[in-house]
């Protein structure tokens, strides 16, 4: 600093004694810095608020648009499994009924099937890539898996309808023949639809679609496990699997739940692929091989040809989907928080 030395003032007792007078530092704030800092803060705040505002506006406008239907159907909109937009066979118009239960059920069942198949596979792939695979194999393997995420969902749907469903139909028949007779369990594997289009096929297609998402997030999570923890496990004589169980997985629980939630979000919201392979029937059945329908698939199939109340009901389906997603995420967050407290102690 080149400013002239300040006159040596009285030194406070207990403070550092200066042996020689040094230039008095300028500590007053510089206007430009303050302005930039503020600007940055407001920009970030605005970005954060924009997200919140978008969510609230979507909820409000969909609620408003679906209000006539929700008022008309009341609680039956959630509990009724009959969805009859117009009189199917009578000459005179019968009262239309809008009950979303079958679609809510279909969405949940299909997503659950997708998670059951996708999560173990995705976690295993991620473990393989981070813990087992040679470094040189990692890059190409990751690229291939990420490519899976780049395939448009309509392509998955077409593949499902043209290849997967017909191929699986005889498999379903076989499983039904083998397990259908067992009480309880047998009701899950009832008489399959002949086309093979149903909950199971939709769930399997969805599983393939969400594997890359869960894999790539789980991979990120696993790479954040401290090397020290892994070494501690090895130093106790753990095998690789014991090390993964003891050090990698406990550390990754929260992140893994987050990864699964993002996969679930995609599964719940997936529209076109599900619409193509789920079969399109309004029913609530335990039979996983039966055809059904899911919330987004109904919306995309019926929206173009809907009357006013029908249209409002379809938007109501959107509201229901939105609420389900939010509820599941809140539940997951709660679960993660509790687990983290248990693992890390109340301090963290």
């Amino acid at each position: 600093m080149t400013s002239p030395p300040a006159p040596p003032g009285p030194t406070a007792p207990g403070r550092h004694q200066r042996s020689d007078p040094t230039p008095r530092p300028t500590l007053a704030s510089r206007g430009r810095d303050v302005l930039g800092d503020r600007l940055f803060r407001y920009l970030c705040l605005a970005a954060g608020c924009a997200v919140l505002a978008t969510l609230v506006l979507i909820l409000l406008s969909t609620l408003q648009q679906s209000w006539p239907a929700l008022r008309e159907s009341g609680l039956g909109f959630l509990t009724d499994s009959a969805w009859i937009p117009n009189d199917p066979d009578g000459p005179g118009p019968r009262k239309a009924t809008f009950g979303a239960l079958a679609f809510i059920y279909g969405s949940l069942v299909v997503s659950a099937i997708a998670l059951v198949f996708a999560v173990p596979v995705a976690v295993a792939i991620a473990l393989f890539l981070t813990q087992v695979a040679h470094r040189r194999l990692r890059g190409p393997a990751v690229t291939v898996i990420d490519l899976l995420a780049a395939i448009p969902s309509v392509v998955f749907g077409l593949w499902g309808i043209l290849v997967v469903a017909p191929a699986l139909a005889p498999v379903y028949d076989g499983i039904h023949g083998a397990l259908g007779g067992i009480p309880g369990l047998g009701s899950l594997f009832g008489e399959p639809v002949s086309t093979g289009r149903g909950y199971m096929t939709a769930g399997l297609i969805l599983a393939i679609m969400i594997v890359p998402i869960i894999t790539s997030l789980a991979r990120e999570v696993f790479t954040t496990v401290p090397a020290a923890d892994m070494q501690a496990a090895y130093a106790l004589g753990a095998t690789r699997w014991e090390m993964i169980k003891g050090a990698v997985l406990p550390h990754s629980f929260g992140g893994l739940v987050g990864a699964v939630m993002l996969g679930l979000g995609r599964a719940l919201g997936e529209t076109i692929a599900v619409a193509l392979v789920i079969g399109g029937s309004v029913q609530v059945t335990a039979n996983l091989f039966a055809s059904g329908d899911a919330l987004p698939a109904v919306i995309v199939n019926q929206f173009g040809e809907s009357g006013p109340l029908h249209r409002a009901s379809l938007i109501g389906l959107g509201v229901v989907l939105f609420v389900i997603t939010v509820l599941i995420n809140v539940a997951a967050r709660f679960l993660v928080r509790r687990a983290e407290i248990r693992m890390r102690g109340a301090a963290a």
């Binding site: 496990a233 090895y234 004589g237 753990a238 050090a247 693992m343």
Partner: protein, 288 residues
């Protein structure tokens, strides 16, 4: 400390019943070192990090490794239980024997080696699990299933931690203080009753009070285990160890740095009457 039952002495190989059974160290004569390093060199790829180390590790004694940063003392320590295996490209030449058996032989399973030669690390690294589960984890991987609660208690007592944690065994190990965490890591290590415990600067992340607790603990443990400790704190080596190995870094004719063992002797001799000039310079603080 309570007398603990000594674990089985399975062979180091994965073969269920193989040659080369490990003798019970208690029957071995006190003079026979539990481990011997003969001309040990450690390579990372083509780089020779440590060159030609020859030293014994005496049974039920504390051996300290001291020396400036980059002298390879931690590298040598990690070669004693094959932790270097985890670093891609790391390779050990020369002989490291444990009860006369070379731990780098083809049919030796590093997992079996590490079950007998445990390790405590520089930074306390409890698992994100409860205190109890941290200690029980080692028992689980060693397939010790009887009296787990009793063994956990013994290990925590052995690590002088029991009285502080006995009422909160279900809380997370990460909720403890740094010194307590390090003693938890020691408890985790001794729970599986290893033969040798390697400690890699176990106190460098601790405050002086926690350090002195861990040092007291080492003295107690030496009655039952063989301990090798790497430390950059010479006073610590002088306080706790029976034998001291002094390492330094040398630059060879090609300008490449290698770690090198300069002198191995009883601790008292190293600190009062070292043979090598470099040792004397280091311990008197004249190290350049």
């Amino acid at each position: 400390m309570n007398q603990m039952t000594f674990p089985d002495h399975r062979p180091l190989t994965t073969a269920p019943q193989g040659a080369g059974l490990v003798p019970d160290p208690r029957q071995a004569p006190a003079a026979a070192p539990v481990m011997n390093l003969t001309d040990v060199s450690v390579f990372y790829g083509s780089y020779e990090a440590v060159r030609n180390t020859t030293m014994p590790v005496h049974t039920h004694q504390i051996t300290a490794m001291i020396g400036p940063s980059g002298c390879g003392k931690s590298t040598v320590l990690r070669s004693l239980n094959r932790m270097n295996d985890l670093i891609p490209g790391a390779r050990v030449a020369g002989g490291v024997t444990y009860h006369g058996q070379d731990i780098y032989e083809r049919d030796v399973d590093p997992i079996q080696v590490r079950r007998r030669i445990g390790m405590v690390f520089q930074k306390p690294n409890p698992f994100p699990k409860s205190i109890f589960d941290n200690v029980a984890y080692g028992l689980k991987v060693n397939q010790i299933r009887d009296d787990v609660a009793g063994r956990v208690e013994q290990a925590l007592r052995g690590a002088a931690l029991w009285d502080e944690v006995k009422d909160k065994l279900k809380t997370s190990g990460l909720a403890l203080s740094g010194g307590q965490q390090q003693r938890l890591c020691i408890a985790r290590t001794i729970a599986v009753q290893p033969d040798v415990i390697l400690m890699d600067e176990p106190c460098s992340a601790l405050d002086p009070i926690a350090t002195s607790k861990v040092e007291d603990l080492m003295h107690e443990l030496a009655g039952q285990f063989t301990i090798v400790i790497v430390t950059h704190n010479m006073q610590q080596a002088a306080r706790v160890s029976h034998h001291t190995a002094f390492f330094t870094a040398e630059v060879d004719a090609n300008g490449v740095r290698h770690g090198r063992l300069v002198e191995f002797s009883e601790t008292g001799r190293i600190f009062t009457n070292p043979v090598d000039k470099r040792t004397e310079d280091y311990i008197t603080g004249r190290f350049g």
